[in-house]
Amino acid sequence: MIRDWVSPHRIGLLLVALGVVIWAAVSMRWDWIPRYAGLGLEGIWRTLWLLALSLLIGGALAVPLGLAQAAGPAFLALPARWFCTVIRGTPLLLQLWLIYFGLGSLFPQFPSIRQSELWPYLRQAWPYALLALSLSYAGYEGEVMRGAFKSVPQGQLEAGRAFGLSRFAVLRRIWLPQALARALPTLGGEAILQLKATPLVATITVIEIYAVASRVRQDTFIIYEPLLLLALIYMAIAGVIALGFRWLERRFTRGLG
């Protein structure tokens, strides 16, 4: 491993990379960073919680979606399959705009919604962003979970039933844990894809990190520096996600043959 890193061409490449970094630090403009640091941190925080919440909600929706397709009766399986097909067959940007502009123009027409306690939230953009991101993740993951549920050997479920476990207990203790463990590598990749989908919410006025970078560009007319820093930030987050899922995989796939 270490020897890989000190082979001559790697050292050469590292020196080139170091040179590029030094050149970028010296001759590019970074003086805007202190002014926008606070805004940037808020943006990163908003990106992170949008990502985390949409992964949680979408993941929770994906389990019944996958289960309905893998083992459900036709009146549940068909709608679940259609939901996944429609979500996966249309761009997220379109879904986001449909939800934000469509629902957003529909809701104010009903006085009962305007007077409800949810209205202060429904007037903001982030609930729509969260809804669109969660539904999209649920659509993609429902498909993944369908395959995962199907890949658990039938004999295990039968053994559970033979031990006198109820159908729900079989699902909770045998079927779901094994399906999740099998889906983990795919879920990790999908989580990074979801991270890459978050900047779309900037188009409906949610100020996350991409929107902050766009604002720097518009305020200062500096083009490359904010975008490069933004790319670095996304790469760092993606790296953390990849490491996290690798740890989860090591931890939870030990028992799988």
């Binding site: 449909l98 502009f101 490359y224």
Partner: protein, 249 residues
């Protein structure tokens, strides 16, 4: 039939009028946008496949420096949002091209949205295609290429006659996935102002305030594109798998 439908569903006639192809309706704009989307997706997918073939060959049989550079390319593209890459490559690409032209003594030019969209999405697709094709080429048995070499074929002949046809059925599921991503990624060009389907839809919806009508219609158009191309890829896959024993999906 139609009258009966309009009577039972009062909003439908207004929606149909909004979507009609003649100028008061916006259907023509939507279809033009859809055509633009398909052209960009086709161009980007083709460019991506070309980059992918060279990238995969470089990763498998290139020198150490080529391999490292290619893995930087695929890692960066797969970790940074497409939207950021589109902006970076668009600005950087126009800048570099114009500086190059200035060196040669030409006047700077404005790059068309179509060319820029195809170029940028193609570079993004190329990174994914590199990985797909690398996996497919790797799973072609060594004995087959060695036999080809033993028959005296040049490396290029070996690739064209043996490796390429043998890896194609293995690569097709991944490539069909990439094509679907390409059609959906064209929507991102709406944000940089290129008038493909999503942007046309938003303009139509914004000026008529009929958001649901237009967004649902555009969704149906995208769905038709993806379902039809899924069917086509299914045919192609069935065709190229014919010779393979026991390799049914």
């Amino acid at each position: 039939m139609l009258d009966w439908l309009f009577q039972t569903w009062p909003g439908l006639e207004a929606s149909a009028a909004l979507l009609s192809l003649e100028p008061p309706g916006w259907g023509g704009n939507l279809l033009r946008g859809a055509l633009n989307s398909v052209i960009i997706a086709l161009g980007a997918f083709t460019l991506g496949c070309v980059i992918g073939i060279f990238g995969a060959l470089g990763k498998l049989s290139g020198g150490p420096v080529t391999r490292d550079l290619l893995s930087i390319y695929t890692t960066v593209v797969r970790a940074v949002p497409e939207l950021v890459l589109i902006l970076l490559l668009y600005y950087a690409g126009t800048d570099l091209l114009n500086q190059f032209l200035r060196l040669l003594g030409y006047r700077p030019i404005e790059i068309s949205g179509l060319a820029a969209g195809i170029g940028v999405l193609g570079i993004v697709q190329g990174a994914y295609a590199t990985e797909v094709l690398r996996g497919a080429i790797q799973s072609v048995q060594r004995g087959q290429t060695e036999a080809a070499r033993a028959f005296g074929m040049t490396p290029f002949q070996t690739f064209r006659r043996i490796t390429f046809p043998a890896m194609l059925p293995l690569a097709l599921p991944g490539l069909s996935n990439l094509w679907l991503i390409a059609t959906k990624d064209t929507a991102l060009l709406a944000i940089v102002g290129f008038s493909e389907l999503t942007l046309e839809t938003r303009q139509a919806a914004g000026s008529t305030r009929a958001y649901f009508t237009f967004f649902l219609a555009a969704g149906a158009l995208y769905l038709i594109m993806t379902l039809v191309s899924g069917r086509i890829f299914g045919w192609i896959e069935a065709r190229y798998r014919r010779g393979q024993a026991g390799a049914r999906a």
